[in-house]
Every structure is written in structure tokens, then in C-alpha cells.
């Protein structure tokens, strides 16, 4: 479990550095610059076929390929974890095609490609967060026609989005949208934050790091510059609120992180653990919680759930 994996292979034979050819990189780079200049606006780009299927992060990979340099340290997470299939395969992809150093430590990374989580460790100015996005258009479920949703963005016509959230309240008494919760960037564009839990939405606001979003199938790139206001849509009498847990992490004891529920046996025994594997591990290594916390205390981290 070393923090920084050793570079095993280097590019040079067969592929250009970081897989994409230079013309493609220039095209992606120009799109990224326009995306940064128009925060929250989805810039169309000529997304390429990547050697993995859509839905596996082809958008994020193209952005990362356009960003990567030899000195970068790459971290890839999938649902917060470094050791899940998607994260492992993307990390290997760039180890082989770019020969860059990779890490599992949030603090050591210069570029972090993520699928559906923002790391718990606060990001710094010298880091870039790249999101993999399946559906970039927040209005798509409300307006299926691209020509119309474009007009709605152009004319700042976002009332329909509030109606959707209001329907939640009318039906359930509260806003039940819990992931991909729409945000407004710099007071102008309504943007999909990708399917991150709404727990992570506040981390996007005034973030010191640059955040860019890539959708491979839909061929869109958008961005949030550093120190930019990102507001989750809400109502005065139903303010935006993030998820809370009664439980704490069964491994590190954290009460502030996003928790995944893990089923332990077939009798309804469950345990909650941090979704951010690096955050959880760092806490276990440095804090008093230590290895003893690995054994969950009775009644705190595990609980019986009534069928």
C-alpha cells in the first residue's frame, strides 16, 4: 500500500504521449479554455472514440489526456475509492500511455479524475479536479430537445428547474433529489454537477482548485473556475441541505464524511464506512482512532435494521 505507485511502463512506442494525438489535444484544450471563460456553459467538443466504452469516463479521460504533463501526479477515484474497477483501469491507462506518476493520496495529486465524488480533503490552488459526466444537460429530463434547452440557457429561463424541485416538495414534503443536484454557477448558468451526492455540492462553492467536467458520449466540456460562487438551487422556505448520518464511519469513526452502507450478513447487519477511501485511511493512520477503530463498537457503527 505505497502512496505513490512506481511508474511501470512509459509511452513512446506506438502512442503519442497520453494517447491522444496533438490535433485532438489542441481542440480539447481550446474547448477547455472557452469553458473556463464561460463558467457553467457546456462547450461542445469533437469527442473521440476512446479504447473503452462510453460510460466509463471517456469524457474525463480526454480532458485528463489534454491536461497531463510529465511532471503531473494523477489520482483517479470512482465513488470516492481508488481501488474500484473504473479507477484502476483509468489509472493504468495513463501509466501506460503517459508514464506519469500516480497516487492514491489526495494531497499528493496535481490532477484528480473523479467519478461521482469530491474528495473530503479540501483541494488546493495547484490541483485540478476532472469530473466524468454521463448527462451534462440539467434540463434534459424537462426538455428533451437540444435546440430548446439551448435557448433556455441562452435566455436564462430556468423556472422549469424550480418547478421540478417544487414537485418534490409537493409530493414528499421536501426536496428528495439527492444526487446530480442542479447548481447555478456565478449567478448565470444552471449546471449539472455530475452525479455527485448533494453532500458534495457545498465543496464546489469558492473552491481554490479549478474544476472541469467532461461528458464523452454527449461531447461536452464545462468548467467552474477557482473561487467561483456555486449555489445549489432551493427555496427560501425549503433551503438546500446536505445528507446527514446518525452513524459514524465504522473504520475511522469520522462523523463528517460521506458514508456508504455495507451489508455484513444476511440477517440485516450493516456497517457504514467512508466513501472516500484515502480520507478514511489517512485518518486511521494519523488519528487516535487507529486500528482499534477497525473493530466497530457495539451499537454505534453497526446496527440491526428491522425488516
Amino acid at each position: 500500500m505505497s502512496g505513490t505507485d512506481k511508474t511501470t511502463r512509459h509511452s513512446g512506442d506506438g502512442y503519442n504521449f497520453a494517447y491522444l494525438d496533438e490535433q485532438t489535444k489542441r481542440m480539447v484544450r481550446r474547448a477547455i479554455l472557452k469553458a473556463v471563460a464561460i463558467p457553467g456553459y457546456q462547450v461542445p467538443f469533437a469527442g473521440r472514440e476512446m479504447p473503452m466504452p462510453f460510460g466509463w469516463g471517456t469524457g474525463g479521460i480526454q480532458l485528463t489526456a489534454a491536461l497531463l504533463g510529465r511532471d503531473d501526479v494523477l489520482k483517479v477515484i470512482d465513488q470516492g475509492a481508488d481501488d474500484t474497477t473504473n479507477a484502476v483501469s483509468i489509472r493504468k491507462f495513463f501509466q501506460r500511455t503517459a508514464g506519469v506518476r500516480t497516487t492514491e493520496r489526495t494531497a499528493e495529486a496535481t490532477i484528480i479524475q473523479t467519478r461521482h465524488r469530491i474528495p473530503e480533503t479540501p483541494l488546493r490552488e495547484d490541483q485540478i479536479l476532472v469530473y466524468q459526466v454521463p448527462l451534462p444537460e440539467p434540463l434534459r429530463w424537462l426538455e428533451p430537445r437540444e435546440t430548446e434547452s439551448r435557448k433556455m440557457h441562452a435566455q436564462e429561463e430556468y423556472g422549469v428547474m424550480h418547478v421540478k424541485l417544487y414537485e418534490d416538495i409537493a409530493r414528499h414534503g421536501r426536496i428528495v433529489t439527492s444526487f446530480d443536484y442542479p447548481v447555478r454557477v456565478a449567478g448565470r448558468y444552471v449546471m449539472s454537477p455530475s452525479p455527485i451526492p448533494k453532500f458534495d455540492n457545498p465543496k464546489m462553492d469558492d473552491c481554490p482548485a479549478l474544476q472541469i467536467f467532461g461528458a464523452g458520449r454527449e461531447r461536452r466540456v464545462y468548467a467552474i473556475p477557482p473561487y467561483t460562487e456555486v449555489r445549489s438551487l432551493d427555496f427560501e422556505d425549503h433551503p438546500f441541505a446536505i445528507q446527514r448520518w446518525v452513524e459514524s464511519c465504522g473504520l475511522c469513526g469520522s462523523r463528517n464524511s460521506y458514508l456508504d452502507e455495507i451489508i455484513l450478513d444476511d440477517r440485516g447487519k450493516r456497517m457504514f464506512v467512508c466513501s472516500d477511501s484515502d480520507y478514511c485511511r489517512s485518518r486511521r493512520e494519523t488519528e487516535d482512532s487507529g486500528p482499534t477503530a477497525v473493530v466497530p463498537e457495539n451499537g454505534r457503527e453497526t446496527r440491526e435494521v428491522k425488516a
Binding site: L33, A35, V36, V43, R188
Partner: protein
């Protein structure tokens, strides 16, 4: 200085096209995400005296056959045109409105800036990016800016710009989300001014 002599007397571009373009782009991205932050241009091609070397770094990393470029009068030299055509392959156009990139000098007549393409309301990304060549980015007229990417506020100064230039910049920001984006280069440094920032105050020396 051997590499000054490329084919047909055209100066060489980046010595390592892949990595030099990447290094330049990352600095550009940093500058575009943090408007007003002055950063040094990491790689500059060894070109003839009088060539805008830092501006050429920007164009070598971003321009290609997809990006028509418009050159202002002081840059409309045959050698420069040949350099861009050879290394970037970008068409040089006669009208600013047809260009994706503009290469202009800081003392450009502000009226010319208004002729660049500001994009469409539905497609504001189809707008021009103007590379402005200056002697220095420390002195001269400028403006105090606020907005996305700027913590509190920042000051941009570009030597040689006319006060009218900054009035145009303010009007450009007011058109948001349409508008053009600026990349200023001078004395080995660059600073960016995307349309998203608000001009708080025009500073004239």
C-alpha cells in the same frame, strides 16, 4: 542559434512540440482560470528579432487548420505569416469577424476589437480569442477586475493600451455570456482576461 534556420528561412517552432505545447497550455489554463494573475511563459520559440515570441508560444500550442487567424497591421509581415502557416497550418484571414484567433498589438485601435466574433447567444463558445502583444504587463493603462477566478479583486495593466481599449473590455464583459477573451503577453509573461470578469474600474496612468 542554428535552429533559427528552418526550411526556407522559417524559424523553428517548439523544440519538443508535444511537451512544450502541454507546458504552455497548462500555464494558459492557470492564467485563464485566475484572471489578473501574471505567469511566465514557460517555453518560447527562438525566432527573429521583432517576432512576438511569447505570443507565438500561445499560438503554437492552440492554433491549427481549424482556427483562422487575423493579424493586425504591425504583424502582417510575410515572415510571420509563413511561420504560422508552416507551424500551425492556420489560415490567415482578412476580416477579424472570420477569425478564431487575433494577433494584435496593445496599441490597437479599440474599434477594431469590436469587429471580432463574440459568439451567438446559444453558442457563446464560438467566439474569438485575442492575443495582445505588449512591451510589459506591469505598467500602463489597465483595470481593476472582479469575478469568477478572482479572489476579492485583481489589477491588470498592459503597457501601450489606449484608455478606449479598457472601455471596450468593460463593454465586452457586459455582453456576457457572449464576448471575446483576451490573452495578454509581454516581457515573457502572460495574463488572461476572459469575458466572465467584471471591470470595476478603468485605471489610466
Amino acid at each position: 542559434m542554428n535552429n533559427l534556420a528552418g526550411p526556407g528561412g522559417i524559424p523553428a517552432g517548439f523544440s519538443s512540440p508535444v511537451h512544450d505545447a502541454q507546458a504552455t497550455f497548462r500555464v494558459l489554463l492557470e492564467a485563464m482560470s485566475r484572471p489578473g494573475k501574471r505567469l511566465s511563459v514557460p517555453v518560447q520559440p527562438e525566432v527573429f528579432h521583432g517576432f512576438p515570441d511569447a505570443a507565438l508560444s500561445v499560438l503554437l500550442s492552440l492554433a491549427d487548420f481549424d482556427t483562422p487567424i487575423w493579424l493586425s497591421d504591425d504583424h502582417r509581415k510575410a515572415v510571420l505569416r509563413e511561420f504560422l502557416t508552416f507551424h500551425c497550418g492556420c489560415p490567415v484571414v482578412e476580416q477579424p469577424s472570420e477569425a478564431v484567433f487575433g494577433l494584435v498589438h496593445a496599441d490597437i485601435n479599440p474599434e477594431m476589437l469590436g469587429k471580432f466574433n463574440p459568439g451567438l447567444p446559444e453558442y457563446p463558445d464560438r467566439s474569438a480569442t485575442i492575443v495582445v502583444v505588449a512591451e510589459s504587463l506591469e505598467t500602463g493603462n489597465g483595470s481593476m477586475i472582479q469575478g469568477p477566478g478572482v479572489r476579492d479583486q485583481a489589477v491588470i495593466r498592459v503597457a501601450g493600451t489606449l484608455p478606449g481599449f479598457w472601455k471596450y473590455v468593460a463593454a465586452n464583459s457586459a455582453m456576457f455570456p457572449q464576448g471575446v477573451d483576451f490573452i495578454f503577453v509581454g516581457d515573457g509573461e502572460m495574463v488572461c482576461l476572459p469575458r466572465s470578469v467584471m471591470v470595476r474600474e478603468v485605471l489610466c496612468t
